[in-house]
């Protein structure tokens, strides 16, 4: 059965590495639902969070192929229940619809969204949550006219307690022994 998996990839900081990561998916014709990349808590270690829908067997093989890449330190895969995850969405709406009546403002409050910026012509609202939640706000704001909308890729923290720092320290001590 295909299920949604979140793959966390820890890499060295190197030009072109994202390409090396994505071609592993492209080659198997696997669609990446979302991808987010940034620096991790360990200096010079980058973290990619990739969401795909696949059979576990395939995901396992992909993770091994990822780890095989020289500059990938580690890769893990998790089901939704094994991680804490969020996405962030930004909504640009006309300022006058917010000002004109209380309705839109109530919606924003009810969704625990916040107003990031108010300009004379538009207002930017921010909502953090899972896709269903950011989508729900989108659906409710839609009648007021959404000028622009963007949602980030998923970012996820895993529940298992082994830290990246510990993993990296262990790997570094192994090379020094050689």
């Amino acid at each position: 059965m295909k299920r949604r998996y979140t793959i966390s990839v820890f890499t060295e900081d190197m030009v072109g590495l994202l390409n090396r990561v994505t071609i592993i998916f492209t080659r198997r014709k696997i669609n990446i639902h979302s991808i987010a990349a940034s620096e991790s808590e360990v200096p010079n270690v980058h973290r990619y969070t990739i969401v795909i829908e696949e059979h576990e067997d395939t995901v396992k093989k992909i993770v091994l192929q990822l780890e095989k890449q020289v500059e990938i330190i580690k890769a893990f895969y998790h089901l939704d229940e094994e991680i804490v995850y969020q996405e962030i969405a930004l909504y640009k709406v006309p300022t006058d619809v917010l000002a004109a009546g209380k309705e839109a403002e109530k919606i924003v409050r009810a969704h625990y969204a916040r107003v990031l910026s108010v300009e004379s012509q538009f207002t930017v609202i921010e909502k953090t949550g899972q896709k269903e939640e950011t989508q729900a706000l989108f659906n409710e704001l839609k009648p007021f006219g959404i000028l622009e909308f963007v949602r980030s890729g998923r970012i996820a923290i895993t529940k298992p307690m082994r830290t990246l720092t510990a993993i990296v320290e262990e790997l570094e001590s192994e090379i020094k022994q050689n």
């Binding site: 072109g16 200096p43 010079n44 091994l64 095989k68 020289v70 330190i73 570094e172 192994e174």
Partner: protein
């Protein structure tokens, strides 16, 4: 040497010296022990060629006639010697011409360092003359690649490239160097790469797993070993032999593992795969424990996976964690270097002789002999067969030659019938099946082993894919012995058309030039054989020559290679006709 730590990488460093980036490339190659490289010059790599001119006495550059030839020659060198093959090309078309060879080296785990020139760094991304994104293009087919835009990066990039190419499961790496970085001056120091935290070339042996493997093997009634190139790559030939001899296990090889065990060893039961031997294919589905050593269960070896060795417990000795359970589910995986694993395992297995089980192989071998082999090696028909050519070569070389093959029917025949008494003696394009591989690979093999006889066995089709490398042979005076088995067809494709496409020979007929005249044009000695009576004397003449020699044998046009496991069939459904 002092040790340098940079973020995550550890190098050892020697004192410095000022030089240009191009000189640094050459110096770094020499520091890595390179004395031979293959390549083709062009604008973006000219500074490096200029630097090569100064070190011709220490670093021999062989000018091939096409960059693809340079990669295959470097592969042939690497496969014959176990060392890293090096090739070099210019940007744009020079770089793209390397791709087939790099892909071949990637799938066949061959250590290569490829160096390409690139346009000036300020021109990157401008569609400059001869700019191609070779780092992007080669990414799926390299183990690692890197673009250098500053001279100071060169020593470390090259040290790292060699380390990655040769360590763990070997593979091709590419270093792309912009022209300005080749001109720029730097303080050169020799680096030797010691490791990288993100890269574990091999796992430490898990003795628990070794013990579990030994337990399965000791309980087995019908154990069966499959071995691949891993045995050659980890120089485990002796350890492997000691293991199978102690445990008394019949052993079969993939074409990448050929020659790791003497052809005539009493436990060698032959070749696996689509055109492999009858017994090992059939009995794969009857063994109780299957022990795979340094092989990756390629689909040409396994046939239909859903009917592959389902009855057996599977033990997999493998260096690459990504190969475990990739195609065949394993009961016990022993990760690590094949030699270390085999030595440990040999200590734990019981002495055994599976005589009646081995006899089953010998019985099927006789069936195959009667149905296929006899007529291939000693044909009753007038037409010459590829098999009898191989038999004659075996006799005249006493199994001491390195046999290099191209791709097609002659490849399968050469793999099946060549006899080996030395390791690293069969060089063939296994995973990619690259026509055109043979002629340049044979040049590299001969240069790596000037004292061994190197016989290139090629089809008339594949010969014409890299025929221009006759020029390299001539210019470099490399005494490669070339045997073209001419059936005037793209034989292997024609065989499939014969068996599976109602003999509709679409575009497989070859109208060939007069090869004798062409080869003579390169001042290489030639001989053509049409009659059986001439074969032996022709092979002897070829082998007695101290120079390169071209032997063309006109073989039967429409012969098929058997046995055969048709695509989609199970290995035990192997057909003898």
């Amino acid at each position: 040497m002092k040790t340098v730590e940079l973020q995550n990488e550890v190098f050892a460093q020697k004192p410095t010296q000022t030089m240009s980036g191009a000189q640094a490339v050459v110096q770094a190659l020499i520091d890595e022990g390179t004395d031979l490289l293959f390549g083709y010059p062009g604008g973006a790599i000219m500074p490096v060629y200029d630097a090569l001119y100064d070190v011709e006495d220490r670093l021999n550059h062989v000018l091939t006639r096409h960059e693809q030839g340079a990669t295959h020659a470097a592969q042939g060198y690497a496969r014959a010697t176990g060392k890293v093959g090096v090739c070099i090309a210019t940007s744009g078309p020079g770089a793209t011409n390397l791709i087939t060879g790099i892909a071949d080296a990637q799938i066949d785990s061959t250590p290569l360092v490829c160096i390409t020139g690139q346009v000036h760094s300020h021109l990157l991304g401008t569609d400059a003359f001869q700019e191609t994104d070779v780092v992007g293009i080669s990414m799926p087919v390299t183990k690692w690649n890197f673009q250098v835009t500053k001279a100071e990066e060169i020593p470390m990039a090259i040290a790292k490239a060699f380390y990655i190419a040769r360590s763990g499961r070997p593979g091709p790496v590419l270093v792309d160097i912009t022209k300005d970085a080749q001109f720029e001056q730097l303080e050169y120091s020799q680096y030797s790469f010691k490791g990288l935290r993100s890269y574990q070339p091999k796992s430490k042996l898990n003795m628990q797993k070794v013990a579990e493997a030994a337990e399965l093997i000791n309980a087995a009634k019908k154990p069966f070993v499959l071995f691949g190139q891993g045995v050659l790559l980890s120089q485990a030939e002796e350890a492997f032999k000691a293991f199978i001899e102690k445990a008394g296990i019949p052993s079969a090889w993939t074409i990448m593992g050929a020659s790791a065990l003497d052809s005539d060893h009493y436990l060698n039961v032959g070749m696996l795969g689509m055109h492999g031997n009858y017994a090992p294919n059939k009995l794969t589905n009857e063994c109780d424990v299957l022990i795979a050593v340094g092989m990756r269960f390629d689909d040409r070896v396994t046939g239909d996976l859903s009917r592959y060795a389902k009855q057996a417990k599977v033990v997999h000795l493998e260096i690459d964690p990504a190969e475990i359970d990739k195609n065949v589910k394993t009961d016990v995986a022993v990760l690590g270097d094949a030699k270390e694993a085999l030595l440990a395992l040999t200590g734990l297995v019981d002495e055994n002789k599976h005589e009646s089980w081995l006899a089953e192989f010998r019985k099927l071998e006789q069936e195959e002999f009667a149905m296929v082999v006899k007529d291939e090696l000693t044909p009753s028909s007038k037409e010459l067969t590829m098999g009898e050519v191989m038999r004659t070569i075996n006799q005249c070389t006493d199994g001491q030659a390195i046999v290099v093959t191209d791709v097609g029917q002659h490849q399968m025949i050469a793999c099946r019938y060549a006899k080996f008494k030395q390791s690293k003696s069969l060089i063939t394009s296994g995973g990619l099946g690259t026509m055109g591989f043979c002629l340049p690979a044979a040049i590299g093999a001969k240069m790596g082993h000037p004292n061994r006889e190197v016989v290139a066995v090629i089809g008339d089709g594949g010969f014409q894919m890299t025929i221009q490398e006759l020029g390299t042979i001539f210019q470099s005076k490399t005494p490669v012995k070339i045997v073209v088995l001419n059936n005037e067809f793209l034989g292997m494709v024609r065989q499939w058309q014969d068996l599976f496409f109602d003999k509709r020979y679409a575009s497989t007929t070859m109208v060939n030039p007069d090869f004798q005249t062409i080869v003579k044009g390169y001042h290489i000695q030639t001989r053509e054989v049409r009659e059986r009576s001439e074969l032996e004397s022709a092979v002897k003449e070829m082998l007695n020559s101290t120079e390169s020699f071209f032997l063309e044998v006109k073989v039967g046009r429409e012969k098929n290679v058997f046995p055969m496991v048709p695509t989609g069939a199970s290995v035990s459904e192997i057909r003898l006709k």
